[in-house]
Symmetry: D2
Subunit: 502 residues, 4 copies
């Protein structure tokens, strides 16, 4: 994440195209921070990392970076834009020589982006180079950073991840693993980390396992990455999930597992299942596609109404809509058609084009929906802005009734662990009850899956209220860790505010 005091950063040095590859309907989603990938001891380390990051692209579209090590030198390429924009050129891959590499994809913020914040971050430490890539967010980064700056540390980014790097640099530990674990013990929050030194590929997952991290293997080379799809794309084998609180060290002598934290029960983030992860990923032994279909089944059981067809809001609503249709015995139909051609599109839209909104990317299948009662299935509602438009589009196409069904509970609380949530004022469910939301969206009926329904779809009988099995604070307000930066006294105003470019 970007630390709050850097919020006013200026435009990038060399103006980069603004990609709007997400379709309009996905504009009102929560955003994942990042995806990570690392591989050790494989002759095609950089090319495989490129492919792994491409498979994880849904976790972050703002920027991508890879650091490789060739036995003598580290090589770094970091770019704004998609993996496919830059990293698939032979010339780039050729510069990333070596048999080990770590990489990162980062999500697209509203404003401008700083190249210096693109990960992996790298530093020349006394013991040698150290690169680190981070999925998640630290909840005491500002506090730690202020203390480090007071001690004379110069930060090269506004990323929370750099406090880990600075702590590694300053640790008095004898070996790099001592220093790295020293650093981890300073931080709180959510993290799935991959790090690269001149001898090791390191992985680490926070004590609650909020963000995913898995171990795979290709021709004997160990791989660490965020999701199984990054293994699939290169034909690698899934080995196991990294455990919450585990630190894994890959060297040429094999893989070692450290457990520097006291035992805690696992508490993965449920949003990976609801929206972030790809449907073809398997997390914690569960097929994401299958969980989403089950959410559809639960939804239909909880709130079905008589209707002629069930229509997904493309593309994230599809699995739940299939499940819903099967459960309700209503045909699944494509009532909204996407325009697949986007390019670098509509970056300076005229007033006229802006007014057309959702139609640029989607069109109602009028011949299908005219005169029909439809159930629209979506995965979540954040601000509700897109739901308003899509419901309006369906009525304009002649739908007789529109019933909206949402495969997650109302989002009432912001996240601090690597999901970009709007302010409470912008969260629809933090400001309206379901009937208020129904009116706002302008739909015949509106229903959300219940929290118990969500836990059932995830395979639990019920939510353990004393020790919830999932990180679910967005729906419940129940945060799994301390929120030091939020509650502590901040000194960030003492730091000068560089509106830097690069």
């Amino acid at each position: 994440m970007s630390l709050p005091f850097a919020a006013s950063s200026a435009a990038p040095a060399i103006s980069e195209p603004t990609y709007i590859l997400d379709d309009e309907l996905n504009a009102d989603k929560l955003r994942e921070e990042c995806g990570v990938f690392g591989i050790f001891n494989h002759p095609d380390a950089a090319a495989l990392t490129t492919l792994g990051l491409h498979a994880l692209q849904h976790r972050g579209q703002e920027a991508a970076g890879i650091v490789s090590y060739d036995g003598k030198q580290f090589h770094s390429e970091r770019r704004l834009g998609l993996v496919g924009d830059h990293f698939t050129r032979q010339s780039v891959i050729d510069r990333l020589t070596g048999t080990s590499a770590v990489g990162h994809v980062r999500y697209s913020t509203q404003g401008e982006t700083l190249l210096r914040n693109v990960q992996p971050l790298f530093a020349d430490l006394w013991g040698g180079g150290f690169a680190v890539a981070h999925n998640g967010n630290l909840t005491n980064a500002v506090t730690l950073r202020n203390e480090l700056v007071r001690q004379g540390a110069i930060f090269q980014s506004t990323s929370d991840t750099e406090v880990i790097l600075q702590h590694v640099a300053r640790s008095s530990g004898a070996h790099v693993m001592d220093r790295f674990i020293d650093a981890l013990q300073q931080v709180e929050g959510a993290y799935a980390l991959v790090a690269l030194t001149n001898k090791k590929l390191i992985g680490a997952r926070d004590p609650l396992g909020i963000r995913p991290l898995i171990l795979g293997e290709l021709h004997g080379a160990p791989i660490l990455c965020s999701e199984t799809v990054a293994l699939d794309i290169i034909g690698a084998k899934f080995v196991r999930e990294i455990e919450p609180g585990e630190v894994v060290v890959c060297t040429k002598d094999g893989i070692e597992s450290l457990h520097p934290f006291p035992n805690a029960h696992s508490r993965p983030c449920v949003f990976e299942f609801i929206y972030f992860a790809r449907p073809d990923s398997v997390i914690g032994g569960k097929s994401v596609y299958d969980v989403r279909k089950k959410m559809g089944h639960e939804l239909a059981r909880e709130s079905h109404v008589p209707s002629d067809m069930v229509i997904p809001v493309p593309d994230s609503g599809v699995p739940a809509a299939i499940g819903y249709g099967l459960e309700a015995g209503v045909p699944f139909e494509l009532g909204i058609i996407r325009n697949h051609y986007v390019g670098r599109t509509f970056i300076e839209p005229s007033q006229h084009i802006r007014a057309l909104g959702v139609k640029l990317k989607h069109n109602a299948n009028r011949a299908l929906v005219e005169g029909k009662r439809i159930v629209l299935v979506d995965d979540s509602i954040v601000r509700g802005t897109t739901s308003v438009k899509i419901v309006k589009m369906m009525y304009e196409a002649g739908a007789k009734e529109v019933h909206m069904r949402i495969a997650s509970p109302p989002i009432t609380h912001p996240d601090f662990y690597g999901i970009d949530t709007p302010n409470k004022e912008q969260l629809l469910a933090a400001n309206y009850d379901v009937e208020g939301m129904r009116k706002y969206i302008g739909v015949d009926t509106l229903a959300f899956i219940s929290v118990p329904g969500l836990y059932r779809a995830m395979g639990y009988e019920y939510r353990d209220e004393d020790a919830p099995q999932l990180t679910d604070h967005c729906f419940t307000g129940c945060y799994p860790t301390k929120l030091t930066d939020l509650t502590g006294s901040k000194r960030s105003d003492q730091l000068s505010l560089l509106a830097e470019i690069a």
Copy 2:
């Protein structure tokens, strides 16, 4: 189309990015030549044309162009790339002043592209400027061009469309409509044309109505375009189809309809329904989505086998798969997951990346298909190259049986009317029977819809063998017009071969 003798043209002047926005699975499809759009007497002519072309982008992704007229001057903007890449910038729209405009999208050829071939073509004629945009292909363009060059005409493009323009320029007709109809009477083949003069917007459709052209209306302004989706995006009303052989002239005094050709029965191209048109378009009164679902029903009736699920080859196979599933009583499932992030991707892929082929864009949903018997539904097979890869991917993901069902008959003959078909040597169905194709693709069973089944899905009881209701030569070898260039003596070798850039 590009005339054959210009096939060796060199690289574009200013190197343009090569977009590969189509997904890998669509790489083995037939390609439409173009889409056209025109609007008369609306204050936002260029912006509306941009939006209309964006909605027609699936008909051509190579290049786009718009010519507007502002009462004094014609303005032209023609670019390689997608509509959304260039035409949505305010600066571009601002240059296209005026209340009438015509536009064109063009499909992406293999090799380099010539900016000078991008339409609308324009010429300063004695009577004033004349812009024309063409969807379709002429079958006597080379013959006509040779004769014109012999008479001293200088061509500015290698496009077949320019022979129309040169004939308009040289016609002895007193008025522009006389000259235009003179020109149409020289040409044979398929065309849906929109043309713009300083007083008129003109539309014309070939005598058989091979390519579609419709009339719409927005706030009283007439619109001519290829598909209804171009009306939907701007909230315009559908008025009627232009009839085969009809020439429509929009002036400030209203719309006039001319019928310069002897009556012929209509014979629209069936491929618009199979693949080209968007599913949310309505052509000849038929919903494309609905026709495709019906093809799925027919397929299931003709060739169903016991199976656990039906899986569409994304995205074009979806409607037929839904129809198939309903008819066969087998659940519809997403067994192949797309990676939506493409950017300018993989333009210089390393060997390693190329070898991964289809996986860059798609991944099998392993948790779903493992151990299952699946029916894969696709709209067509051209070369078969992609089918091989996708079937292999499904088996590798653990599918127990894979049954491929194709919602069009085997393609045995090339097209000459605006569809880019490979040589007969590359057309799988021109070289193998169904069993041969099954072996080539490596699938348990393979079946195509029959020609009668196709006609039934289109709403006909049977194919009228004496006067087929559809242009269907790709499946039947029955071409609807003369093929002069193909059979005549060509003099194209006498023309010098400019490998031009711009």
Copy 3:
């Protein structure tokens, strides 16, 4: 040149950098239209043409183009910008295969430029390809163009040169040389042409020899080009000047010389010596550098005043200042220092920067000029705008007296033969007498070389008033040819006005 009715053309399709490589002091100069180069039967035809055009870059900085022929195909590369920007990349040269080539550089107009106007122009004629590049300007091009359009010709550019091409296309001559000479006999004005067919390299110079064209030779391969410096850069030998009215045809059988026009006396443009040609060129047997020094000698003889030093306005005033200093016995000094670093500079200057004007590129050498009486020598005054600034700069640097001496007579008449002259309202000498100009420029004294002095510096005893030896109408109003377009009835308003992009 661009025909007048195309003056309002819009921005180029793909936005090109605006180069302002000329220094500010040269902003108030007349501009040459073009330079041409052609070579026949040399294995490095395109590379040598590139170098020749680079040496002729001072004749045109707007755009450059090369057409080559490889025995089978013509290849064309035309670009906006400098030769060195595009044509020195191996990839471009590699596309220009073949052993013969013609090339062109074009000068930078104020407004936007059309790629379609960049030369060489090319057409596929019945007899084969034909490329032509033109230095000069036709004075009946509009008249001829209107007639051709009436006959059905479609023009691909707004260049006057295209009327030659269209006439070649339509000529009834049996062979290409007959057709080419037919075409030349239609046109009036100034031209030095190089043309390329599949068998011939052709050169032609107008009957008065207004624009220069020379014949050179490298390893037996004939070369046609505008100035000797284009031979020097590639180590080629100067053979002779092409005679006024001569047409030269190079084939593999040798060089043939045709004289299709009645004898006329030669009348070269004196501005080549005053400003256009490079000082190291030799034209008509005269060293340009030497002529310019002699202009300085004449100036000193005609109008010297007591002073401490003579200072050239860089860079074009240097040879005349050296001559002046030698004649007057006053030391030559660098009183104005250039900043050589320009890049793509100051294209969107802030108000503050604009106000600094001339200082961005030049600075007075204050320590040198403070308290001194200086003679400033420049080659010409057009609008006088720069002279005002530079004189002000010298006074601000402490000069006690500033005496301006101009090495050409006052410019009172516009040119129509390929020199871009401002309207009469903007020509300083068309609106003021010398004393008026002196006051406008704000200088102690101002003097121009006399017309007789100019002829003496050129080596003539006197100007032959009945048959002037030089094209000198800018100073005398004595135009050497008819000015049909200027005086005839124009029909250009009947042509539509395309504001095209490419």
Copy 4:
């Protein structure tokens, strides 16, 4: 400078054009490191800094940067390329808000450049932001850096300048000036620094005053910059030179002068006069143009031979050639003509073009030099490679005799204070005596100014051998400071080698 262990850095992140704006004849010159500029309390701070840097562009063409402070926030823009390429766009200036700014230009190295090394460097220190720009080079930077890294410092660049920044960050001084002076007392070598805090503009010059730094003033706003030309361009007043060892602090309360170092005698670098500074600058009260002319006079006195003309090697040889001509009574002539058009030129030259070498940018004025005895005057010889080519060009143009005269003594020793000198193996004068050099260059006679002649041209009666008045080690081997990095034990091999991009 770049520290030695970063020499193998990879290509820049976003490929930047390689400008070759220096003419070929200047390819064999020594290179200055940098130029600096700072202004305090002026509403147009960034625009004026841009102009100042443009005037100092000859001191560094690789990259430029500006940091401004607007009372709340620092803003930074750093770019590869020329000032005029980026900083004159309104959009860039608009981002650099505030009334104080510091800027830097950096010279063009051979290989790729790192954006992260572009100055001003900036850090968020505990007391607030700190930006610093440096002309010169530290001779103990590697030693200091190694120690800092051992203590846990993370460097963001490979620049020697960053050791100053890191020392400021870690100093225990109470106020920023204490910390800055602490830092200066750690470093040795040459420096002219400008630094910016949220309250101060600071200037500092090393104890020997090796690199220049002057104080100017515009409308009451103090300015610090490398040369007087940066004042001229904005119409600012010269106030005084910063003294060797002086630290100047500009605040809103005025200008304070600190002298933290023991007294040392001044010893400015003589190369500023020979080649680096612009001729219109005044350094140490001496006109650079005048000193260069005097070098020409000394040269003529020491080594004139009978000849017909004196010809400068453009452009740096011109003042010395004028002086030489006046002293020797031989006419000054332009025997070598530059081609001013360069653009982004010849970045991928074909073999043929490379072979032409010097001719791309220069041409002998054959008509002038043919059959003549010429004296060629240049400012220095480094490797001699260009001298060989230019002498050859003059003979090929027909010169009867060529006598080369060099306005500086033979360069026998490398520099370590901010001048980029080749290895001793590449320094011609370190390997040959004058007769050997004459043969290598292939010239009739060769002579250099003597060291005493050089001191006379600089206005000294003789060189004080015990305490030389000038930094002149390149000619004498007499280095003015310790060279710790060169002689000490380096630990740089312990640092990892990041081949970074940005």
